[in-house]
Point group: C2
Chain length 441, copies 2
């Protein structure tokens, strides 16, 4: 297991040490830069390290009174997010030399809170894939076993947090791209409710589904990042006692690798012992929601990339090019129907939480597969890592719900538990997750 | 010119005579049934006449205190609107024997206001065409010259009002289907702002664009119908003096038949003499908005009809089948882009009214072409009646704006003037139109 300056600590620790003066932001940035450089040959979590910019920001932080919630905190940002003056490649050869002029809205919010952007993290090409191993700058390794996937598409952000290189990182999540790498790397990450954090300055994958999320080692750190990016309020919630937890069941959610099943069942049992009220719930339209996801994402991804595909197809990686070509064959009437279904499903999504506070399920039915695994047994009867990794995530994306992955205790490769909250209940979801973390951790 | 019991009268006259007891609702319905039967061989404005239902409703109206705004008023409803127990064909052989179980929401609102639904009016097949002459029950003739088009798709509703068969009729408008027949038949009709009147129980053509509208001889009658269907408030507005009127100009709006140009120019001059402030305004994206219209409508129409097209293509009329087949070739990425453009254009539509109260332009650049005219000179350099009739209407549909067509004074075939209002300003638009009607009529 790779380790860095933030291994074994939380974001709150770092913020506190910076605030008290126990840690100097300039020294901290030097530590981070050293650790990133050392980890890079193993993990490839970063596309670009902005050493000069980070040092400059750290000096400025040292000279200022700490006001923002992230004063002097080194953070990493996924490489599909615009950073002014810093290379932003979208994980693609198409943008090999692309330097945006302006920061994305979320980057402005990070900077306003005092965060120091140390670099840009590896993303699956154009964020179009949950494996994180097909991208112009090479695959991102999992800190728990660098021969395995970090998950994607926010691979580098999850790996950087898991390896202790930064205490907080920004990702994006369309169909699971924050939650999946969080689960595979053993960190916490939230996909906020749709529209909760502005996507301005974030390269689109599928605008009806795209969200900006954050990752940290613990729930409290994730909540801090969420508050800054969503300009949200405090996160305080109920105890686990009496918490009404729905456990999605049925064929769609039952194809679990034995390791995931055992670890997740133990987690649920611990929750029950802590006083949570557990109920099995059916999600009879899970497969249909997944189909809606695939159709909407396909049409919109082609809408984003059509000219590149027509004029510079060779510059795509083979897998993304193949998938985009297949996506061009989705007829418009199916997209029209899918989008209509999405709109209707979102309008009635709150009903799914009648008598429930949250839904709880494994974030992924498998643990991290080997890098580049395709069409091979990856556990739980799955042969496509992509399909396995997406299955438990896309339904909530279509529904526009806030969803969070947090690590499940146990040895071996990480397993993630996904909590899904009602529409607009991001803060409540984070509070519930924090209570669960305390009760089970 | 065909004439019926309401020729030369207004809806307000009818309401007043019924309220005062000067007119008996049962007698009035008999008059209407006779007139409809007499006009039917010439105009074919109706698909179904519900004589029994109308008589029953009239007897009930006679026995009740007049409370609703349309107490005892005979009305006609386009045949794509569900009427409980009454044949509703959608103008198509696919629904030749279709009898809905429930009334559409708008029909319930009509009945609650005391209106008597006397029958269902001829629609272009599935409302998919602005000419009103291609439909399972045969073409609808124009009361001003039955060898010419009434316009569509709400052909029968406009013809029935123009011929004095009913004082008020319901239509639907996706890309001009109320405004175009209103203009060609010399009556007034409104396409309300998008979402203003519920479309529940109305057969869809393109759900992102579909609206329910009403037609009457004058603006006040149209406003009364709008108030009932939209559950809107009173319509009171400013005088014409000082009214700020924008006149869309540029290539897209300049292909006018000389008759339309002369009559419309005289109308604008009269408005100027009445004290309106006239300004030419550019709509540089008019052609682009029209393209958005065609793409969105195509994809959604196929989404509605795909199974019928795959399994029972022969039951469509030739023209609608040909158009649907062409529409299936619209790729999903173009629909995705068009829908995104529509959403963005609607979000900023209010800006187009900076310093303006309304836009004013000819509703159609041509007068009513002969029935079944296709690929032939129809005036103004136009050879496609469909393209000519839609051109001035689709941009405002995409923008989701309320728009109204009112007759322009003059001899010969009718010419319509279209007023377009800011988002949500349906009532203001009707008030402005009423002031203009008073000032110019």
């Amino acid at each position: 297991m790779t380790s860095g300056p933030f291994s074994g600590t939380t974001l709150a620790d770092t913020v506190q040490r910076l605030r008290s003066g126990a840690t100097d932001p300039v020294d901290l940035v030097e530590e981070v830069l050293d650790a990133v450089a050392a980890a890079q040959p193993v993990l490839n979590a970063f596309v670009t390290v902005d050493a000069e910019g980070a040092r400059k920001q750290a000096r400025a932080a040292r000279d200022q009174q700490p006001t923002g919630a992230l004063h002097g905190v080194p953070v990493a940002v996924k490489d599909i997010v615009d950073t002014a003056g810093v290379l932003t490649t979208m994980g693609s050869r198409h943008f090999a030399g692309h330097v945006p002029e302006r920061d994305a809205v979320l980057v402005r919010r990070l900077r306003r809170a005092g965060a120091i952007v140390v670099g840009k993290t590896t993303t699956h090409e154009f964020a179009y894939g949950p494996t994180g191993d097909d991208t112009a700058n090479g695959p991102c390794g999992n800190p728990h076993d660098p021969s395995r996937m970090a998950g994607g598409s926010s691979a580098g952000s999850a790996a950087a947090v898991a390896a202790g290189l930064v205490p907080l990182a920004v990702g994006t999540d369309t169909g699971g791209s924050v939650r999946i790498p969080a689960a595979l790397c053993g960190v916490t990450g939230i996909r906020p409710g749709i529209g909760r954090i502005p996507t301005d300055g974030v390269f689109p994958l599928s605008w009806s589904l795209d969200t900006v999320g954050v990752l940290a080692t613990d729930v409290a750190g994730t909540a801090s990042g969420w508050r800054v990016l969503a300009e949200g309020g405090d996160v305080e919630g109920p105890p686990v006692t009496g918490l009404r937890v729905g456990l999605p069941t049925g064929d769609w959610f039952d194809r679990l690798d034995p390791v995931v099943r055992a670890r997740f069942d133990a987690f649920v049992e611990a929750l029950g012992r802590a006083g949570a009220a557990l109920t099995r719930v059916a999600v009879p339209d899970a497969a249909e929601l997944h189909d809606v996801y695939v159709t909407v994402q396909s049409a919109e991804a082609v809408a984003v990339h059509h000219e590149r595909l027509a004029e510079n197809a060779d510059m795509f990686g083979n897998e993304v090019r193949r998938r985009l070509n297949a996506a061009t064959r989705v007829p418009s009437y199916l997209y029209a129907r899918a989008l209509r279904r999405l709109t209707a499903a979102r309008a009635t999504a709150a009903r799914r939480f009648s008598g429930l506070d949250v839904l709880l399920l494994p974030t992924a039915p498998i643990t991290a597969p080997p890098l580049h695994a395709r069409d091979t047994d990856v556990g739980g009867g799955w042969t496509s890592p992509r399909e396995a990794l997406l299955a438990h995530n896309t339904p909530w994306s279509v529904l526009g719900l806030p969803a969070l992955s947090m690590p499940v205790a146990g040895d071996g490769l990480p397993v993630g538990a996904q909590l899904v909250g009602p529409p607009g209940a991001d803060a409540d979801l984070l509070a519930v997750a924090q209570a669960i973390e305390e009760a089970t951790g």
